[in-house]
Symmetry: C2
Subunit: 144 residues, 2 copies
Amino acid sequence: MRSPVLNPAVSDFALDPALAASSLAVASLPLCDVRLIDDARFPWLLLVPRRSDAVEIVDLAKADRALLFEEITAASAALRAATGCEKLNVGALGNHVRQLHVHVVARFAADVAWPEPVWGSGAAEPYATADRERLIAALRRQLR
Amino acid sequence: MRSPVLNPAVSDFALDPALAASSLAVASLPLCDVRLIDDARFPWLLLVPRRSDAVEIVDLAKADRALLFEEITAASAALRAATGCEKLNVGALGNHVRQLHVHVVARFAADVAWPEPVWGSGAAEPYATADRERLIAALRRQLR
């Protein structure tokens, strides 16, 4: 029996090892894997479209781009609801890791990097297990 | 005679003075003013939705959010075409200036901040007049 026909852009996708190592799975949305950066200093999500070789938002297919923007909006709302943050920071940089990924970060005037961006602001401090599980559960409830 | 009824969200809009002072008008898209940051180190656009009191993308009306995402895409394509950059950086932070504005930055592996973000990377170096006018003209051609 022949294998079912798969969309190669989906089936070839593999999460970049550097992104995988620094973050934890939260949810799988229609386009993106949503992951939590393991850094208790900043509640910080990554959205990674499951599209192999995607680098720039502008180069996504139009339908994928529309999905990505919807999922950025959903993740932003979920993160704010779960954390009560004072400001959201959203960014797609990719200077270190080329695989397309979008950062959605919950910021507080009392956080250690405020008012500067979180990128490049010292070493991550992993969550205590209970804190991490509580935050991931709250995010999953919001994203359902 | 009574004044015509204006959309107050449009008519009350005033560009934040700090954004105005650091940038130059490039184009007026259906939602956003597009401006060039006056820093010859990085070709760098700001998109500012003409909506008074807008702070977070997620809080825009749905139709405005869709327009903003289209305009981010158009500005990204225009900036890359005008500069031949190696990477685009896109970000909405707003920690210093609350008025909603989106950064679209052309990055090169040879630029002075690479691979770190441009935000907080030292003092701006204003363009020479001819360089600035050439870049703005190229961006306007792309955005037409």
